[in-house]
């Protein structure tokens, strides 16, 4: 899959099961939007096979669009229409829309139903954006970096909305550059960097990596910092402490640390980008 001069993504192999929340995680410029736009039918690919809801998005028609909802990377609202009007407008485009009032409640904008989009906060605008994608009652929802630029409370409110979609059984394809967002929301995560997939699995699987390697740090008798990377910290510690006891030495500042999921992510993505 490529566009323009450079190949934006290559060898991407993904499968998203119906009813799951799938997070496509990667830093800015990794190729997330290119990939999602190919899946949404906005962008042509130069190669590879793509099937979304059983059809090739490049050639899919209105019936296919009736089954998907799209939230683009930036808000795309009519500033002069109210929340309710924006949803009514979009409901008219779809063959079996969800009720407008229900959608307003789903995205938590009950108090703002008659406010014009331009008067909403950034977080509220984003939730309206999601509402406009949901009002068609799609089977599959694309969310492209939905919480970029949010403050923590707006992000939490947004996550609650996505959690409630899980209960409705929607399939969600979420792109994000926030590890914590993927961890919190997704059933499965695929990490992309520099146009390639560098890791894939459930958030727990990816979490396994943290158990893989630990770092033991202490200062030896001479006061030198010692740092040992190990896959077997229990055994390593046992050896270390037994020797110290035998020799009557202290292990000043002894600590065992594991990389956080964030570290794993940063490590994976920076390695790929440095290639």
């Amino acid at each position: 899959m490529s566009y323009g001069e450079t190949e934006a993504v290559r060898g991407i192999d993904l499968e998203v099961a119906s009813g799951e929340i799938f997070a496509f995680l990667g830093p800015n410029g990794a190729g997330k939007t290119t990939t999602v736009e190919i899946l949404e039918g906005y962008r042509r690919r130069t190669g590879g096979e793509v099937r979304v809801l059983g059809e090739d998005p490049e050639h899919a028609g209105r019936a296919w669009r009736d089954r998907i909802g799209i939230v683009l990377q930036s808000n795309s609202l009519d500033p002069y229409l109210t929340v309710r009007e924006s949803l009514e407008l979009y409901a008219g485009y779809f063959s079996h829309p969800r009720s407008v009032e229900e959608t307003i409640a789903l995205v938590g904008l009950e108090g703002k139903a008659d406010s014009r989009a331009r008067k909403l906060s950034g977080g509220q605008q984003r939730r309206l954006d999601v509402g406009m994608a949901l009002v068609g009652d799609p089977e599959l929802l694309f969310l492209d970096e939905p919480t970029t630029g949010f403050d923590p409370s707006a992000r939490r409110q947004f996550w609650d909305v996505i959690e409630s979609l899980r209960e409705l059984g929607k399939t969600i394809f979420l792109t994000t550059h926030y590890m914590d967002e993927a961890q919190r929301l997704a059933d499965r995560v695929t990490i992309i960097a520099a146009g390639r997939i560098v890791a894939a699995g459930t958030p727990e699987d990816l979490g396994e990596r943290e158990k893989a390697a630990a770092t033991i740090r202490y200062r030896d008798a001479a006061g030198e910092e010692v740092s040992i990377e190990t896959l077997d910290p229990v055994r390593e510690l046992n050896l270390l402490t037994s020797a110290a006891l035998e020799n009557g030495e202290e292990l000043d500042g002894l600590e065992v640390t594991r990389p956080s999921l964030e570290d794993v992510y940063l490590d994976l993505t920076s390695t790929a980008a440095g290639e």
Binding site: Y42, A63, I68, I70, L72, L77
Partner: protein
């Protein structure tokens, strides 16, 4: 919803958004009214010669400013609002829904044409009440015909023009830079008898001059004909050219970012 019902649906919301937007109401509604009042007041009831007919200045300015208002409601409004919606990502987003592209365009053009008809009514009313230029009811069918051809042609030109406008910020300057000088040169702001013939020949290349003449003929009794097919044909040819350019170059995705 069927295609036509969907156009009505789209149109209903476009109208709401249009009337709530101070920029579109200011440019499209208040500006022509202001110009009619200014020109009508300054030049009073002196006589001018247009198309070989001697008429009161006010009798000239009412159809002239209606011409301008129709172009403003169609070409100017469409060029600006479509560029803003394109750069906002609203056009791209709409393309991601089952709504057919033509429905969206038809809704917007419908919005423009309805606004143009409203401006005709408003300016004709002001012309009648304030300047004694009575609306020629007997010529209503001809007036509406000229309006329909002009509104359609200038709508196409407005949609085509979006392809030449790279950003939201560039929309108003580009549109005004194109239209304002042509209003002066085409005899819309300054009557024919005060324009050098070289300027009129230059303006004859563009559709504004021809639309103004066709509309003037339909609106002001005393001319050689009510419907000037020659001028209307030039306007229509420009419209078709705009349509072809729009089909070829119109884009739904933002150009910036």
């Amino acid at each position: 919803m069927s295609g036509l019902a969907l156009v009505g649906h789209q149109f209903r919301f476009d109208q709401k958004a249009f009337w709530r937007n101070p920029a579109s109401v200011g440019f499209t509604v208040f500006f022509p009214v202001l110009l009619l009042v200014i020109f009508g007041t300054i030049f009073g009831s002196s006589k001018v010669e247009v198309r070989g007919t001697h008429v009161d200045t006010d009798t000239y300015y009412v159809p002239a400013i209606i011409t301008m208002a129709i172009i403003s409601a169609t070409m100017q409004t469409l060029a600006m609002s479509l560029v803003i919606a394109r750069e906002d990502g609203r056009l791209k987003r709409g393309r991601g829904t089952p709504m057919p592209a033509w429905v969206f365009i038809a809704g917007r053009v419908g919005n423009s044409i309805v606004t143009a008809v409203m401006m005709l009514a408003l300016l004709a009313l002001i012309g009648g009440l304030a300047y004694g230029v009575h609306f020629p009811w007997g010529r209503l069918p001809e007036i509406l015909l000229v309006l329909a051809i002009g509104a359609a042609a200038f709508s196409c030109l407005g949609i085509a023009l979006t392809a030449a406008i790279p950003t939201q910020d560039a929309a108003a300057p580009i549109v005004n830079f194109l239209l304002l000088p042509l209003y002066f040169l085409s005899g819309v702001f300054i009557p024919d008898d005060q324009l050098p013939s070289g300027i009129i020949h230059f303006a004859d290349v563009f559709p504004i001059r021809h639309f103004f003449l066709a509309f003037f003929d339909a609106y002001v009794p005393g001319g050689a004909h009510v419907v000037d097919w020659g001028n209307l044909l030039v306007v229509a040819i420009w419209g078709v050219a705009g349509l072809l350019l729009a089909i070829r170059f119109f884009r739904w995705t933002p150009r910036s970012g």
